[in-house]
């Protein structure tokens, strides 16, 4: 028992005392996102929720008042596509491997089963919420950069698995999950001539087939369940089950032709979809807006390859993409498209810098904040509980001394589920550290 307690203490050590009473953050500039920006406003938190927000609040007597003059309060940032909180080597995808060695000692792989129920690179049923590890080391660094939440997905395979909307409180697994499943992560990872699908068109055809199989499964099951007697029982299929319980598909779409392709593909599948990538969206923003398909934009902007041959000539197209990728969010804002941001491998502490590049390329600051907060919540269908500073929503807040996108501004603290965290000291290595607060009094 002792080691367990030690781990729990360590993990929770950054949390300040959470009184069962109220916490009032007073005198701050409040960027509510869902409403107007309030100068000299107050946010009142109770029981992990936002109880009130305004400029003239009557504070209850029991409220613990934190003077926040000179600070700006934002809704907690959301990384809209991440693996934070999940073990770094997720369960390998279930690629069928030969069960028995071949006779004669030859080490040749057995041809892969290609029948109708062949489900290569598919783990639709794997849930991020189940893989979640509260001690995962990136939770703290991500939180310290202002993120109160991430949308984490298993990431291996064509159908990688079901994502979960997580609060980065790093305490108990069950408390961290805000919503699950929130989507199915699809990639077009292929493996050459080794096994089907070995090409992009093969992967697309496979996704299409599984989607059709899911439709068929529902029809067959319904028919069977209405009259089981005398009927052949349909097979249970976990791959299809996982797809059916996912409320939306996440489809890869980085350049303009992929975005165009995936918008049409999603329409064909007749399943709600969210695209991710979006670096060349500047070229095709109107189409994205017209399709009303949400787009998650990767904040890891394309860079010149570090080990590129200095004499190799790059094409105008490549140069233009690198130059203009950060203008994609601005173009989407102008077109009225629905978009949010994800870190895409950018270290959490560099995310604000990456967003700043989009702002420098024309994105309004308010749209930038929205893309990091409420838009992500809306895309995943959880805007009723997170994403803005509004009474009744979960108390996920980010308090910055100064302005979020000013390089010099410091993050003061973060509230997650009403629990206060301070950012880890910058130079400190990640991992559990002794904190200044007492463990949260949750439950």
């Amino acid at each position: 028992m002792k080691p367990l307690i030690a781990i729990l203490l360590a993990a929770a050590s950054f949390a300040y005392a959470q009184t069962n009473g109220a916490i009032a953050l007073r005198g701050a500039r409040i960027v509510t996102v869902s409403g107007a920006v309030l100068d000299n406003g107050t946010v009142l938190l109770r029981n992990g929720l936002i109880e009130a927000v305004g400029t003239n609040l009557d504070l209850p007597k029991d409220a613990w008042v934190i003077d926040s003059h000179g600070c700006t309060i934002y809704p907690g940032l959301i990384d809209a596509l991440s693996t934070v909180g999940l073990p770094e080597t997720p369960a390998a995808s279930r690629r069928e491997t030969p069960a028995t060695p071949r006779p004669g000692g030859q080490d040749l792989p057995v041809p892969v089963e290609q029948g109708p129920e062949f489900r290569p690179f598919t783990t639709t049923w794997v849930r991020a919420a189940d893989l979640l590890d509260p001690t995962e080391h990136r939770i703290e660094t991500t939180r310290s950069a202002g993120f109160t939440s991430v949308v984490a997905f298993p990431s291996t395979g064509i159908f990688a698995g079901e994502g979960a909307f997580l609060n980065l409180s790093g305490e108990k697994q069950g408390r961290m999950v805000v919503a699950s499943p929130v989507g199915q992560y699809v990639t077009f990872a292929t493996h050459g001539f080794g096994t089907y699908p070995g090409s992009l068109m093969g992967a697309i055809a496979y996704v299409r087939q599984l989607s059709l199989d899911a439709d068929y499964y529902q029809v067959a099951l319904r028919a069977y369940q209405s009259h089981p007697a005398g009927q052949k029982r349909p097979n249970y299929d976990r791959a299809v089950e996982g797809l059916l319980e996912s409320p939306r598909l996440l489809l890869p779409a980085d350049d303009a032709k992929q975005i165009d392709r995936m918008i049409r593909f999603a329409a064909e599948l007749k399943r709600p979809a969210v695209l991710y990538g979006g670096h060349q969206a500047y070229q095709i923003a109107d189409l994205v807006a017209k399709s009303s398909t949400p787009l998650l934009i990767n904040l890891k902007w394309p860079e010149k390859p570090k080990d590129a041959d200095p004499d190799a000539e790059e094409t105008l197209r490549t140069l233009e993409l690198r130059d203009r990728a950060p203008s994609s969010p601005a173009a989407l804002e102008k077109a009225g498209a629905h978009f949010a941001f994800y870190s895409g491998g950018t270290p959490a502490q560099d995310v604000r810098k990456a967003v700043k590049r989009a702002i420098d390329a024309g994105l309004s600051e308010s749209a930038a904040v929205r893309a990091l907060t409420l838009s992500a919540a809306e895309i995943y269908g959880v805007a009723d509980r997170v994403g803005s500073i509004q009474p009744g929503k979960i108390a996920n807040l980010l308090i910055v001394k100064g302005d979020l996108f000013d390089e010099k501004s410091k993050i003061q603290y973060i509230f997650i589920d009403g629990v206060k965290y301070e950012p880890a000291p910058e130079a400190a290595p990640s991992g559990a550290r002794s904190g200044r607060g007492t463990p949260g009094g949750e439950e």
């Binding site: 001539f193 699908p197 093969g202 055809a205 028919a223 593909f265 790059e314 140069l319 010099k408 410091k410």
Partner: protein, 454 residues
């Protein structure tokens, strides 16, 4: 504002304004050759003749001394797609080029510069039954949907011989696949095709039974849709053209027998380098042949190829086209056609047919393209010299009456493109310099504000 101005320049070509190509040598391919003009309206050829009335306000393309021919049609190409081979399975009919069209492929523009306006983009040749094809027009600058030749009949790739069986051998062939994939012999290839078509027949029957039940108002649930078998049912029902990659005479005859047994038609034999050996049989089956001019000996099954193949097949009554199968060769198909005059003595018109009206017929689009005739799409290539000359250069290419390639304009625009490129490179370099300086200042600040966030 700048964008507006550009748009206005482009509009006259798009609108219903008439275009006249004036005073050229017109190689209609189907209606003879004459010195005259072509009137285009709404993307279609309205009139072509020695004397035509030029409507008021028509845009004139002066072509005195130049040659106009129908845009070249390539019956076998692999450009403009993000993937070509789905190689791990012997039957990959579930995949299709349409899903992965890449409108950004510069080979589209290069093909235009070689006078090509239409091509059939085929799946690779790693499988006895490959993926679905897509006929496209070289509408450079449009999106993927904009490339598609609307109304062209659907097709599918079959493949015989070495590529197919080598894909199944350990350590050999494509990608040196580690797994053994059946088939590994020509016998196996035939078996895979027969097996797949037999499966397709059963699937077809399943749907027929279901439809019969529905017609009798009986309760029934529709069969599971199988994306692999659906296109094969279309083949059996004659709704999807088979374009079969083949080399040797024996395998050609094998495939003709299979098609007889299953009651469908092979639309074209592709490559068909030993076609001259079985030209009579091919002609009797009414099957088209799409071959190379003089490309051979690049593998064992291509040793018996001869440059007279196209001409012999033509003389035996086979519908023949010359294809590229290659982004480079695609740019000089006119020269390839000319070789059929040297080897086998085809006439000028016969030679030009090999890259225009014949491939159009093979792809089932000859009502729309392949010759200069009133009512057809205004897909035209203008050369400075006779296109069957080695010295001919493409001056302009129109598709649906729109100018997609203009040699003069291309040359004019090059300095601006280079300047733009240089500006971007310089911008990046100066940014790199700035970034390199930055860490110092950041360190200074850190001194003032310990623990400050970057």
């Amino acid at each position: 504002m700048k964008r507006c101005a550009l748009l206005l320049l482009a509009l006259p070509l798009l609108g219903s304004q008439a275009i006249v190509i004036r005073d050229a040598t017109v190689l209609t391919v189907t209606k003879g050759t004459f010195r005259g003009s072509i009137l285009i309206r709404d993307g279609k050829i309205v009139e072509a003749g020695e004397k035509i009335l030029v409507p008021e306000g028509a845009r004139i393309i002066e072509a005195a001394g130049e040659y106009v021919m129908p845009g070249i049609i390539d019956c076998h190409s692999h450009i403009a797609a993000d993937s070509i081979n789905e190689g791990a399975v012997a039957v990959s009919s579930m995949v299709g080029i349409e899903d992965v069209l890449n409108p950004d492929d510069p080979d589209i523009y290069r093909a235009l510069a070689g006078g090509v306006t239409t091509a059939s983009i085929l799946h690779g040749s790693a499988n006895p039954i490959g993926g679905k094809c897509q006929v496209i027009k070289m509408r450079w600058g449009k999106d993927a949907q904009g490339l598609i030749f609307q109304g062209a009949p659907p097709g599918i790739k079959f493949a015989l011989g070495e590529n197919v069986k080598r894909s199944g051998s350990p350590g050999g062939g494509f990608g040196a696949s580690p797994g053994l994939r059946y088939p590994a012999s020509r016998m196996g290839v035939e078996d895979v095709i027969r097996e797949a078509l037999t499966e397709a027949r059963a699937y077809q029957q399943e749907w027929r039974d279901y439809q019969a039940k529905v017609d009798r108002h009986e309760a029934a649930i529709p069969p599971r849709r199988d994306l692999k078998l659906e296109p094969l049912v279309e083949v059996l029902e004659g709704k999807r053209y088979v374009h079969a990659h083949c080399y040797r005479a024996d395998e050609i005859l094998m495939l003709l027998r299979v098609s007889d047994d299953f009651g469908f038609e092979i639309r074209t034999l592709q490559h068909v380098l030993e076609g001259y050996k079985v030209a009579k049989e091919i002609a009797a089956h009414g099957v088209g042949a799409s071959t190379f001019s003089d490309w051979w000996a690049y593998k064992a099954e291509a040793y018996d190829a001869i440059p007279y193949n196209a001409a012999i097949l033509v003389r035996k009554g086979v519908l023949v086209s010359l294809n590229s199968d290659d982004a480079e060769l695609m740019r000089h198909l006119n020269t390839e056609a000319a070789k059929a005059m040297k080897y086998g003595g085809l006439s000028e018109t016969e030679a030009l047919s090999l890259i225009t009206i014949n491939p159009a017929k093979q792809l089932g689009i000859d009502q729309r393209v392949g010759s200069i005739e009133p009512g057809k799409d205004a897909d035209l290539t203008i050369y400075d010299k006779h296109p069957l000359s080695n010295y001919a250069k493409v001056e302009k290419v129109l598709i649906d009456g729109e100018l997609y390639f203009d040699r003069e304009k291309d040359i004019e625009e090059r300095p601006a493109r280079e300047a733009r490129k240089k500006a971007l490179i310089d911008k990046e370099k100066s940014q790199e310099k700035k970034d390199r300086k930055k860490p110092e200042t950041a360190d200074e600040k850190k001194g003032e504000e310990p623990g400050g966030l970057e």
